[in-house]
Subunit: 546 residues, 2 copies
């Protein structure tokens, strides 16, 4: 067989070849901005020329500080083709973390959206390796300015460059991208993506049993392109030539729904908090949005409550595909579909949704194990619970310039998630290992409690965290955001938990709050919740008299 | 990222893990024989033990002389896992060719179905490298015997072996399989398949825009598993755990239809002659078969007439997916779906079927060119016609122990097919280069004429071949198999051609025949047609008076 390296440059130009007129739609203040795949491909090749002329070569790091939009896609395309390394900077990081990852990653040039330029500008003088900043301007930001060095407008940067760049043939294990995990403890840790791994991932998510991405789709990736390669959607879309609809900074649920309806989106992807917000708008304004073309949404980042998955199916006929993965797994590792086997066609709808509530089955090519504290493999019986290990061709083997060998063992990644695997090889996530409530030598899953609480009428959002207890070690406390105009009390919340959980698993306290803090990747930030409770001098009820 | 070799052993056990109870159904004289994926996987591991105990190691060649059935699947599974090389022997080869490929391939052991054992037995004494023959017995063949050395019953061979074999870690470029092309000229040429290439192909054909193979399918692969890895279906099925329905030797259309209906088959795959036969039975016996679960059939090996593709859609609602590829391309290279882009949803059904009539768009990862005689690339304008070149990670780079460098150029395979590529990057096959009719310096596509003739009422099958002409070099002659109880004449056939083709492209003669000879892979054997005409002293009409 021919020795063809698995380079992203072999895939990314394909969409423009097979579907040159397919559209890439970017939301703007006034509406949308549209360009074809042919134009996008030519502009990406022009960007590659401009980057090369700016001194960027194979292996050099190019940062992006951008929303999901056509120019971010061009940056993906250009850097992958030319062999540079795309370092996607999370727009929601603190200035301190941002400074750390730009310097640690070694970014030589940053492409930034004009509206977030001020955030980046705070780092002026603190990111000495950055030689140039390229500013992607949208309507309303014509007058951008910055104290960062050598700032140039994106359009000026690529103007008049040749429309074709001869992509170099490099080693398939070469670096393609860099993404830092949101890092709930210590400094952010970088995951370096490689061509071969992402090539395989790009094919895998197009498989019928994974996301089934197709050229016939109009895909709206809401998950930011600065999260783990946007779950791989930008790459697959470039390869397929499917219509893409990109929300840019306009991610409030009503605006998203308008975009999805107007552009005939067939498939979307985002974290559970997005879909909770979208649901709330749909419930408040029934019939306002025509979602008849929408067939499926992928939900990951954290586990969606089963009641929400069911709501999307029953109300909209939309299949919510649950996926599980980590920045470290490129990122998709397992996926759960409503019908995953020929025999599932005969299951009742309720039984089908029991499977959908699980994190899913492993994508072909990956391997999964659960182990006890001594790293002994546990049975796949749906009961035995342990640390989840994973390995395979798109799983990372160390962190970038910070190997952290304790996170790896015998070629496996120790995921930091705790779960069980049932006889059907479905993975069920119990919790992040650091979010488990350890009570009296037993584990209580904060996730199970949250999912159960999310199904209670009147609960908009639920968050369960551990609080210290002198006898039991830890006890669970529930924080509840009430739905609008609904008044429920602690007794109802605890009584609802008691319909499913044992007495010792019930929350010791229920706190009603206005909101739950989120991490930079849109997950509930339990570290922040615990820190706030500590700062407030919170104590469990039975300890207050002391 | 982890350095995980792309070995088939990482994929083939997955089906039994995720769907242990899914069924593998094999047709038998009395009905069907059924086993689960769990059993199949265990039996494959047992077979690997038995093969190892018989002296088969990594890289050793194991021949199979078998129909599509569960034991053939076990042979795929076992050899791939243990690193042996599966040499699939075509049951329809002449004894001479069979002897050649067994000896040339270096087979050390052959697994044969009992019913075809006599065919293999003819080679007794002429295949000295074969140390053992393992006989897979089905009902009615309990009393098999053979003069071949060391024959043993398959069940005795694997009995009492351990249920788990530790698959070795080998280089991903290691040989996986061996398949000889049917070879219309000279000795058959062997294509050696490798793990990495077939791993990628296995993933690719599961992509939504390719065959969309899914664990929710019940797949009936009619294409023999001795043709180019059965188009990759056995591998994908093992990986997915989908239900498999295997016709064994019972491939007459009525029996196939009974099997497809009874087993709720959702997807099938075979050459055009199979689907023509199936169509004839369906037309003769309307309403007899419940095909409500069948959603798509893949058709390849040679180009299906567009009228047949349309018939399956209009009559059954079944999408016929046209695929193009060669033994040398592992085999799938292009694929044509009814709707291949978001914008195609707005095309009329007639326009959609114009695309379906083409060989299709390239599967991601492959590259295609058409070139003139001097190997200069031709425009992708839908007009320029030339030799088709292809390259990519599952395209072969030489023939096994017979490199044939003239079939390769600058890393490209010269396919031997002639065609054009349109602005939508659809490949349209004009002909096999050796089947083109070269008339007066122009080319006439025998395929275009055949497709047009196949749409004429009363024509069951049409075959166009070149015949020598002193002035024009070659002129086309049409051979027609009439549909049952229909009487059409030469004038109607030529008049039908004249509705689309220019005068100089019309056949000079129409011959009505009872059947068209087929090659060992089920294609019309034009070499045999031409040889028969020559043996009969055939001359074109205008040359007969001389």
């Amino acid at each position: 067989m021919q020795r063809t390296p698995l380079l992203m440059s072999r895939l990314i130009d394909r969409g423009a070849k097979v579907a040159p007129e397919a559209e890439i739609v970017t939301a703007t203040a006034a509406g949308t901005r549209r360009q074809t795949y042919r134009e996008t491909c030519q502009r990406a090749h022009q960007l590659a020329h401009a980057l090369r002329d700016a001194g960027i070569g194979v292996g050099d790091r190019v940062g992006t500080f951008m929303w999901n939009g056509s120019r971010h896609l061009e940056a993906y395309h250009a850097t992958a083709g030319m062999g540079a390394v795309l370092h996607t900077l999370n727009l929601r990081l603190s200035a301190r973390d941002l400074e750390y990852i730009i310097n640690h990653g070694g970014d030589r040039l940053i492409i930034a959206d004009a509206d977030v330029l001020p955030l980046l500008g705070k780092l002026a003088g603190r990111i000495p390796g950055v030689e140039k900043v390229v500013v992607a301007m949208e309507d309303g930001y014509e007058d951008w300015s910055t104290s960062l060095p050598n700032a140039v407008d994106y359009e000026d940067f690529i103007a008049d460059r040749p429309l074709t760049f001869e992509w170099p043939e490099i080693d398939e294990h070469s670096a393609l991208g860099l993404c830092y995990t949101s890092g709930t403890t210590g400094d952010p840790k970088g995951v370096e993506y490689e061509h071969r791994a992402q090539y395989l991932h790009t094919m895998a998510i197009c498989m019928a049993d994974v996301m089934a991405l197709s050229a016939t789709d109009a895909i709206c990736g809401i998950v930011p392109m600065f999260h783990a390669m946007g779950w791989g959607i930008p790459w697959s879309a470039l390869m397929l030539g499917c219509k893409q609809v990109m929300p840019h900074r306009f991610t409030d649920p009503a605006r998203l729904l308008r975009l999805i309806a107007d552009e005939g989106v067939t498939m979307s992807a985002g974290v559970p908090t997005i879909w909770q917000g979208v649901r709330a708008v749909l419930e408040a304004r029934p019939g306002e949005y025509d979602l008849s073309r929408l067939s499926r949404v992928t939900c990951g980042g954290s586990a969606p409550p089963p009641s929400m998955i069911r709501w999307y199916w029953d109300t909209l006929g939309v299949e919510m595909i649950q996926g599980w993965g980590l920045t470290e797994t490129s990122p998709l590792a397992t996926v759960s579909r409503r019908v995953m086997q020929y025999a599932h066609g005969e299951l009742s709808i309720d039984e089908q949704f029991k499977n959908v509530a699980k994190a899913g089955q492993l994508i072909p090519g990956l391997e999964l194990e659960i182990v006890d504290e001594a790293f002994r493999p546990l049975a796949h019986d749906g009961e035995s619970t342990g640390e989840i290990l994973i390995r395979g061709p798109w799983v990372c083997s160390e962190y970038y310039r910070n190997p952290q060998p304790e996170r790896f063992r015998d070629g496996w990644l120790i995921t930091g998630d705790v779960g069980r695997i049932d006889a059907g090889e479905y993975l069920v996530i119990s919790d992040r290992s650091k979010d488990l409530v350890k009570s009296g030598g037993e584990w209580i899953s904060s996730l199970d409690l949250e999912n159960h609480l999310a199904a209670l009428d009147g609960v908009a959002q639920a968050c369960v965290v551990a609080q210290p207890h002198p006898k039991w070690d830890e006890r669970p406390v529930a924080l509840i955001v009430r739905a609008e105009n609904v008044d429920i009390g602690s007794e109802q919340v605890v009584a609802h938990c008691a319909t499913r959980f044992a007495r010792w698993q019930l929350p010791d306290d229920v706190l009603f709050v206005d909101s739950i803090p989120l991490t930079s990747t849109g997950k509930m930030d339990k570290k922040a919740v615990r820190a706030r409770l500590e700062a407030e001098g919170y104590r469990l009820p039975e300890l207050r008299q002391g």
